[in-house]
Amino acid sequence: MSTALQIIFDSLLLIGLYAIGALGFALIWGVLNVLNIAYAAFIMLGGYCSWMLWQLGFDPLLALPFTMALMFGVGWLVQRILVDHVMRGPHALGIALTYGLNLLIVGLALYVFTPEFRSIVLPDYLRGYTEIGGARLTNARAVVAAIALALTAGTWWFIDRTEIGSAIRATRLDPEAARLVGIRVRTIFNLTTALSAALAGAMGGLIVVLYSATPAMGDHYLLQILIVTVLGGLGSMLGPLAGAAVLGVCTSAVATLWGATYATAVGALLVLLLLMVRPAGLMGKRFYEG
């Protein structure tokens, strides 16, 4: 019992991080049909942004909204200046463009920040732990899980309940029809990528609090995000959370039972099996239909 509980507690951190990351990634994939490789760079920029704010004396968690705001701007510009120009092309073009952009940004980060690990001294209130049912839940894990839940809920509310959100949904279903009813599709695209980048920034900001920032940090997480996104499907705002829960618990369980080296292989196999049975993902019908 307490082992099972400990596995779940241990996985909370990863579930939270993956859920936030996959939420933003699924947004740009679902609405724009772009497989955004530069998402890795967005995560990394978010991490360094939070680190720099912390150096300026910010509390690392209070820095998060500022990091997200800044990344929102970065995402908007990237869409406006670059990705907008491949939207109607073959989808390989979008992959190539964002891959090149990722290379460029990570290279610049290597130059500016050097490959050195940058980390933040964990504030006291994140250090303690609570004991529940014989298993330890550290404050850091609880807080990350709470933030992930809040961001998922907030994004769900925005997409599902606001007017702009319904414009995003309409654009996802049929850009031409959306244009006909007066939605400015290009603005919606910019906004979606901006939101997606803000969520990537949040993920990076949390990673730097818990672990550390390096120029290659995003590349490492992108693979997990891909797994989570496909597991969760592009069908609903809850998909990323569900996918993250599946991968997080699996990773944690596999690591406890067989060793950490099998974790990625198991996650990848899970996705491949899923894609054979359900080519649209776990919760995927098609983004927000019926």
Partner: protein
């Protein structure tokens, strides 16, 4: 018949492609002959760069088949390159002859391609990309955990003494592998050439545009895609085996590295995907750039190649090949502006 009512404007984009195999074949053989003589003028370093170039060209053409002609952005290449290297190495350290090692590695790669190709090729759009990426990563992680036949995934294997030519002097050794890679590159070019001019090449280009319409005209799309996936995987596996023999040490993470595949994809995109000469141009361009910048400035290489990829995708989405076939006109400011706007959201 009032023909002008049916066509908007004159434009010359013919099917000269299908007219003849002979001219490109002559150019290819001529270039191969000239390159075969390169060891006479190149020192050891130059020869190593030339060998690397041939390896990349062969890989680029193997990816061009699936990624360019079929338009399927496959990231399963590391799985085949890696299996080609690792399986051959395992055979060698167990005392099997080289020919057997090559065949076993090839057969294993083809088996993997058949196993993963059947389900993944059904997937639509980005799901194919993600699935093939995960195939590579899952296999890499699996091999890392292998501990059998005297092979441990986490430990590098030295096979120099097993390749059977360790008695050669270093000059002869370098020349042998240069000619081997050159042969593979020429063979890969020839495969793509034959394919480009055949009915299968034509069918594949039409599947890329509209699979349902191609099927309605009698093209067995699923079977053709699987065949191309297998050919591409087999080529990648052979190149993986050859470069393992050349380098002499096999490390799982390097053999199954995604980086090489991404480099190869960039080369194909830069040169022109789905064309015969495009990948050659792409390989030359990237390697020349790397030589100019030099290895000590790795991050500069990264920044510059990232910038170039972004600029090419935006301004020359058909690759540098367009500039070669159309001449300097393709690089005029007006054309570049048209290219930027071609796929822009309206």
């Amino acid at each position: 018949m009032k023909v002008d009512a049916l066509t908007l404007r004159q434009a010359g984009d013919g099917d000269k492609r299908l007219s003849s195999v002979a001219p490109p074949l002559l150019i290819l053989l001529g270039a191969a002959g000239a390159m075969a003589l390169l060891p006479l003028v190149l020192g050891p370093y130059g020869l190593r760069v030339a060998t690397t170039a041939c390896m990349y060209l062969a890989l680029a053409q193997s990816w061009n088949l699936i990624g360019g002609y079929a338009g399927l952005v496959s990231l399963a290449h590391p799985a085949f390159i890696g299996t080609g290297a690792v399986a051959a190495a395992i055979c060698l350290i167990n005392g099997l002859p080289i020919a057997v090692a090559v065949v076993v590695a090839l057969a294993l790669s083809l088996a993997i391609a058949l196993l993963v190709g059947t389900p993944t090729l059904r997937l639509q759009g980005h799901y194919f990309v993600v699935a093939t990426l995960l195939v590579s990563e899952a296999l890499r992680n699996f091999v890392l955990n292998v501990d059998a036949f005297g092979f441990q995934g986490g430990v590098s294997v030295n096979i120099v003494s097993h390749v059977g030519i360790s008695a050669l002097g270093s000059d002869a050794y370098n020349r042998f592998f240069y000619h081997l890679m050159l042969g593979l590159a020429v063979a890969a070019m020839a495969v793509v050439l034959a394919f480009d001019r055949s009915r299968w090449g034509l069918a594949l280009r039409t599947i890329r545009d509209n699979e349902a319409a191609a099927a309605a005209l009698g093209v067995a799309a699923a079977r053709l895609k699987l065949a191309v996936f297998l050919i591409s995987a087999g080529m990648a596996s052979l190149i993986g085996t050859a470069s393992a023999f050349w380098i002499g040490t096999i490390e799982t993470n390097d053999a199954y590295s995604l980086v090489i595949t991404f480099e190869v994809i960039v080369m194909v995109f830069l040169g022109g995907r789905g064309t015969l000469w495009g990948p050659a141009i792409g390989v030359g361009f990237v390697l020349l750039l790397n030589e100019m910048i030099g290895v000590e400035f790795a991050e500069v290489t990264q920044v510059v190649s990232g910038l170039i990829v972004v600029l090419i995708v935006l301004f020359l989405p058909d690759g540098l090949m367009a500039a070669l076939t159309e001449g300097p006109k393709a690089l005029s400011w007006q054309r570049l502006r048209e290219n930027v706007r071609r796929y822009r959201v309206s």
